[in-house]
Symmetry: C2
Subunit: 399 residues, 2 copies
């Protein structure tokens, strides 16, 4: 007898993958140059040259048994040291190697944190718009997801809306900044307001409400924007990170959980992350990649391409009349469908123009669609007439 | 509030790691040459040269975006094709790429299979002696572990003992051959007896009982022994594998689940493996290593060192009077403590001789201890007097 929940989770079509697959099919029929694919959040800038150089060097200088051997579960000491030093320098806050548990990517990191807080009835708040995988991550790992509606004015955190949803079972709030799908970076002001609410409510309900901060896009910001370091604003913060985006190596599955030692129940939280990881089959983080990030974690991504795409797409679409959130980070543009129906807009754009976007109902904002602009710039240029025609058609339809 | 189960799983001391850590401490005090460490099942032969050559070639010939990019969840098509072709050739049975789900190592592979069969009350049988991690893998993933005592005569499968423990809730039997810790390879005869029992009992209880075959040591065999390919003996078999041992790269976390398409509910099983993996944070298997195993999966490990160690240790210990299971595979020697108390023997050997073994109570055989002979041969030679003295002391104690 097969577990039906997991069977469903393994078969339910991902909307993103479905549209992406449609695009591949169309590309075969009508030529790739006639398909405008904005579906996947897959880095389009190569890894810094140092990544491959480091890999080659390591294969020549480190003994095979060490290079490809097991590390302890939280990672090699050298890797944890290097990452802690990098974070300390970057954020001006002492980060200890022993506060880091290296994982196979940010998804595993976040899930181990969720499991660490799970119990029957535990509630975890998620702010719309949100990465759709948060739902199965939470619901299939022993907690209940409670959705906080989006503030569609600013796409910042609506602290009052968070407060209204806190119950004695609230264990955490997941935040994701720079945000997928909106591209918004949560401001220090909005984070401070959230921190005030969480501090007050934690006292009220008699146990800590943690922030689980999912930060794979932390290094992808534009216009000189600073991403506030959340543990400096709210003490009970646990971070999930991966180098998937900052080093353009999403397939290599390397990230970490950062459990600051000054959070409530820090030792128990860290242990529970280790225990949850253990029963998810984490034996150690990938060993070669641990040494790669140890060497490369201070490499900055070359954001010029993303930034050029961001400006081109944002400026062009707003000039046409689209309402878009001004993205400050990540590589997504979050656009309001002129007819107010993201699903319908995406369907029509796909069928009539081979213009592939992702409807945002799954992100908690059904009026919107998401464009991933980690694409070739010339594809954006060629796609603009399609956006224009779609605007005219769907604006009329909305009247 | 922190989940107590995961906190405990993250803090309870592993006996193996504790003894290993003691050995490191002692090495600092009295010199590494005076510590005889047989604790860790960590490969001691380097990865085949082709592994590092392939890694270097890939960094030069494959575009970074592809090399380090996401694959689909079950792996790159090329990697699944290569592995399927290799298995087909090796075992004379058509293995399809679509039957393979690549994972971050065998632990993740086995756990996703366990989760695929989990429900409240589901029972999974485990045969002693067994890899101790099976217990948390099963018990923290929604099933109950039912232990089948060892047949200490042969350390083969005791089919009657299995049959006696099957209930209407029995979902699977985990088998591990070559076995950790006994080094025994289950014979075709013993497997056929098990298959007969499982077929009969599956009919009786009205649903399939699967074999979950955990095979990380499959390529580590000696004396020309053949490891039977279990799906050819019992149809409802799902295999977990990793290249940790066969390519000496345990830190790289790359393996697979093989769900043959002719097992009962094959499509649902495969989907449930995918769904379970998804909510454990598996996004894709490590991308560089997928290509490495695609290139290197037909490389055979150079077993000469292991075999030399095996013969030396087995012959020496049996000549001294120890009762040992004759190991045909893996890199473990399973030894009966002369005083019949594995815990006490290990404690004394550690304290008096800095001879580090693992007591086998956690493996389900408290009279035994395990020696991992993936070590330097000269360490074995130097350790023999300690074994001899321990034999004399504990044999006397047993009288």
């Amino acid at each position: 007898m097969i577990n039906k929940t997991f069977e469903r989770l393994g078969t339910e079509p991902s909307v993103i993958r479905k549209i992406f697959a449609y695009g591949l099919d169309q590309a075969k029929k009508i030529g790739a140059e006639n398909v405008y694919d904005y579906t996947l959040g897959n880095p389009s800038i190569p890894a810094p040259a140092k990544v491959n150089e480091t890999i080659r060097d390591l294969t020549k200088t480190v003994d095979s048994l060490h290079l490809h051997g097991y590390s302890m579960a939280p990672g090699f000491e050298e890797a944890r040291n290097a990452v802690a030093a990098n974070l300390t320098e970057k954020f001006g806050r002492k980060v200890l190697p022993t506060e880091l548990f290296l994982t196979c990517g940010a998804a595993a990191a976040l899930i181990s944190s969720i499991k660490a807080l799970s119990y029957d009835g535990a509630e975890i708040l998620v702010l719309a718009p949100f990465f759709p995988e948060y739902r199965p991550f939470i619901e299939a790992n022993g907690a209940k997801m409670v959705l906080v509606p989006a503030d569609t004015e600013t796409f910042q955190i609506h602290a009052d809306a968070v407060e209204a949803r806190i119950t004695p079972n609230t264990q955490a709030v997941v935040i994701n900044s720079p945000n997928n799908p909106s591209g918004v970076v949560f401001s220090a002001e909005t984070l401070t307001a959230l921190a005030n609410v969480l501090e007050r409510k934690s006292r009220e309900i008699g146990h800590p409400i943690y922030i689980l901060s999912d930060e794979p896009y932390r290094e992808l910001v534009y216009d000189g924007v600073t991403v506030p370091f959340i543990p400096s604003i709210y003490r009970n913060t646990v971070i999930s990170y991966s180098w998937s985006k900052s080093l353009s190596m999403p397939g290599e599955r390397i990230g970490y959980v950062y459990v600051p030692s000054d959070i409530d129940d820090a030792a128990a939280f860290f242990a529970a992350v280790a225990g949850a990881s253990r029963i998810m089959g984490h034996v150690c983080p990938p060993s070669l990649m641990q040494r790669v990030v140890a060497e490369c974690c201070s490499e900055a991504p070359d954001l010029e391409t993303y930034d050029r795409n961001r400006k081109l797409l944002y400026t062009s679409l707003t000039e046409m009349g689209y309402e878009c959130v001004k993205p400050q980070g990540a590589f997504y543009l979050f656009v309001k469908a002129p007819n107010g129906d993201g699903d319908a807009w995406v369907e029509q754009a796909m069928k009539e123009y081979n213009l592939l976007a992702v409807p945002a109902a799954g992100f908690g904002c059904p009026e919107y669609f998401r464009l991933a602009y980690c694409v070739r710039t010339e594809m954006i240029e060629r796609s603009l007439p399609a956006f224009r025609e779609m605007y005219e058609k769907t604006r009329k339809a909305a009247r």
